[in-house]
Amino acid sequence: MAHIQLKNISKTFGNHTALSGLDLDIADGEFFVLLGETGAGKTTTLRLVAGLEKPTQGRVFIDGVDVADWGAAERDVALVLQQYSLYPRYTVRENLEFPLKSKLRRLPDAEIKDRVARAAKTLRIEHLLDRKTDRLSGGEMQRVSIGRAIVRKPRVFLMDEPLSALDAKLREALRTELKNLQIQLGATFLFVTHDQIEAMSMGDKVGVLNHGRIVQSGTPHEIYSNPRDTYVASFVGSPPMNLIDGKLVGGRAVMAPTAFELPLAGGTKAGVAAEGRPLVFGIRPEDVHLESGAPVEARVHDVENHGVEKILTLRVGDATLRATVPARTDVAIEQAVRFAWNPDKVVLFDKGSGINLRHAG
C-alpha cells in the first residue's frame, strides 16, 4: 500500500510529447482510474510509476520518497497488462510462483506454496494451476494475471486495460470482481482504461487524461455532473453530454444559430456568465424531458431502444441533441415532440476555451 504522487511530469519520445506537466495524487488504498483515449498518455504514466520509463522532467514519489533512481524491481509494484501478460511455456502455478522466486524476495518454499494457494482460491483458479497458459481462455488468463499480481502483496497495483480484450459479459463480471478484490485487499490501484463505463463504475477517483495532461481529476460523480471542460463533458457518459452553442439573454439560454430558448435556474450561474457572451450549454441526455407543454419543438431523428430506456436523437433546426426517456415512451421517427431541460442541471462552458464557468477563475 502506498501513496503515489507525480509532480510536473513530462515525457517525450523523440519529437513526440507523450506527457506534459502532469500532476497526479493517488491516496493510499484508493482505486484511481486514469481515463483517456488511445494516445492520451495513460500507458506512459503507468510505465513511469512502474519504473519501466524515466520521466524527461518531473518527479515520481512513492510514500513521499523520490523513486527516480529505483528500478522496476525495487519499486515493488505489480503490473497487469491487456495481453502478453503471462509467461508462455509456464504453467499457471509457475506463473504465480515466478514473482515470489525472485532473488529480491527469497521466500521459503512453504510460504510460496501458501501464497499461491491463497491467491488461487481468491480468484477461483485452483483447478487451473497445472495447466499451461496457452490452454486458458481470455478470462482465465486475466484472472491468473491478476493472481500473479496479488501473490506479491505489492505496494501498488498497476493495471493497463486488463479487461479490454475480453468479451462484454466477462468484462462486467471481472469489473465487479476486481473492485471487490481491491476493497478486500485495501490496496492502492492505478487502473488505466479508455472505457468510461469502467472508470465510472470502478474508480474511487477518476483522472481524465487528454494530450498528456490531466484535464480533470475527481470522484466519478464530480466528473459526470460537473465536467471541467467540454472535452470531459463529451468524453464521459454514454451517450455523452449534449453541447449546444448559444448566448445568455436576460437569464435565458438562447441557442444560436438555431433560435430556440430555454429557461435557466437563475441567480448564481447567470451572474457569472456575462450576458451576450458566446457560451456552450451542456445538458445530460437524462435531463432532457419530453412534455406536451414544453417550450421547444423538435423532430425525432433516431430512436435507440436499450431495453430499460430509449435514447432519442432530436433535431431542432440544424442542432441535434439526445434525450434519454423511459422505454415505454411511444415515439416514432420524424414525429414532432416538445421538450424541456432540467434548468438546475445545465452546465455553462466558455465558447472560446471550453472551460466550465464554475471551474474558471
Partner: protein, 319 residues
C-alpha cells in the same frame, strides 16, 4: 474439417504429390550415389552403366581410416590367416596396411581432419549464434544510436565474395601466426556467420513481445535474469534455425580451409578431394569419406527439424 473436394482439387493434389516426389528424387539422387559408392567394391565404382545391384562392402571405410601401400607380392597364406578381418579386406584389394616398427596400424589423415571439422564448426557456430543472439537482443530492445546504419554495416560484411579477401587474409594470418590453426578458422567462420546470425536473430527477437521481460522486471528480476529465464526459451526456435545455418556454412566451407590450412588444422572439405591426387583414384574411399562427412549435418538438422520448420514460418504464425 471434412470439406467436400471437387474432382479437380483431387487431381491438383495428386499432381502436387507427383511434383514433390520428382523434386525429392532429384535432390536425393547425388546423395544416393555417394552412399552407394561408399559401399561398392572398387571395380564396380566406375562401371558404365552404373552398377545398382551389388554386394555391399565395408572395405572403403577400412581404407578410409588407414594408411595403405600397394602390395608387390601377394600375402603368404599364413600372413593372410593371421590378419584380422579388416586387414584381409585390404589384402583382397591388392593393398596392405602400413604399420610402424612396433607393428602399430598407421591411421590415415581422415580421422584428424574430421575431428578438426567438428572442432571448428561447432565452436564457430556457438560463438556466432551466441554473439548474434546478444547483439540482436540489444538492437531489438534498446534505442541504439545509428541503429539502421550499424545494422547495414553488419550486413555489408557479406556483400563482397569472401574469396576476394582470401589472399590478404592469408598474408595477415601468416603474419600473426594464425594460419593452419584451429583458432584462425574459428575466427574466420565466426566472422562469416555473425552478420547472418545477427540479422536472423533480430527478426526473431522482434517477434517476442517485450511485455514478457517487462513483467519479469516488475516482478523483481534483473534484465539479465529476465533475458535468460524469459527471452531465451522464447527464442529457442530462432536460435535452432540460426545454428543449423551457421553450422552448415562452417562445416561445408572449402575455399578458406584450403588456403589457410594444410596439416594441423585442416578440415575435411579440402582433405577429401586431396586423396584423388596420386595414381588411380579410389572413388569408393572418397565416397566413404564424403558419406561420413554428410552425417553430422544430417543428424544435426534432423534433431532440430521441428524448431527449423517452426522457425521458417515464425513470422507467419504469429500475427
Amino acid at each position: 474439417m471434412a470439406a467436400v473436394r471437387t474432382s479437380s482439387e483431387v487431381a491438383a493434389n495428386r499432381l502436387a504429390i507427383v511434383a514433390v516426389l520428382v523434386v525429392t528424387i532429384i535432390f536425393l539422387a547425388p546423395i544416393y550415389w555417394i552412399a552407394s559408392t561408399a559401399f561398392k567394391p572398387r571395380n564396380l565404382a566406375t562401371t558404365i552403366p552404373p552398377t545398382v545391384v551389388f554386394q555391399p562392402e565395408i572395405s572403403p571405410f577400412v581404407k578410409l581410416f588407414t594408411k595403405r601401400s600397394q602390395l608387390r607380392t601377394p600375402p603368404t597364406p599364413e600372413e593372410y590367416a593371421a590378419a584380422p578381418w579388416w586387414e584381409r579386406v585390404v589384402f583382397d584389394g591388392g593393398e596392405k596396411i602400413v604399420r610402424d616398427g612396433q607393428g602399430q596400424v598407421q591411421w590415415s589423415g581422415y580421422p584428424s581432419r574430421f575431428l578438426n571439422s567438428l572442432i571448428v564448426a561447432i565452436t564457430s557456430t556457438i560463438l556466432a549464434v551466441g554473439m548474434g543472439t546478444f547483439t540482436a537482443y540489444g538492437f531489438s530492445r534498446f534505442k541504439v544510436k545509428g541503429e539502421a546504419d550499424l545494422l547495414f554495416f553488419i550486413l555489408s560484411t557479406r556483400m563482397l565474395p569472401p574469396v576476394v579477401v582470401a589472399i590478404p587474409m592469408f598474408l595477415m594470418y601468416r603474419a600473426v601466426g594464425l594460419n593452419d590453426s584451429h583458432l584462425g578458422l574459428i575466427i574466420l567462420y565466426t566472422a562469416f556467420n555473425l552478420s547472418f546470425s545477427v540479422w536472423l536473430m533480430k527478426g526473431f527477437m522482434d517477434e517476442i513481445p517485450k511485455e514478457y521481460e517487462e513483467a519479469a522486471l516488475v516482478d523483481g528480476y534483473t534484465r539479465m535474469e529476465a533475458f535468460f529465464k524469459i527471452v531465451l526459451p522464447e527464442a529457442a526456435t530462432g536460435i535452432a534455425a540460426t545454428a543449423v545455418f551457421c553450422f552448415i556454412t562452417a562445416w561445408n566451407e572449402y575455399a578458406f580451409a584450403l588456403i589457410m590450412t594444410n596439416r594441423r588444422a585442416q578440415t575435411a572439405p579440402p582433405f577429401i578431394p586431396s586423396q584423388v591426387g596420386s595414381g588411380l583414384p579410389d572413388w569408393t574411399v572418397i565416397a566413404a569419406g564424403t558419406f561420413l562427412f554428410l552425417l553430422p549435418v544430417a543428424i544435426f538438422t534432423f534433431l532440430l527439424r521441428n524448431h527449423l520448420l517452426r522457425g521458417m514460418s515464425f513470422g507467419a504464425i504469429r500475427k
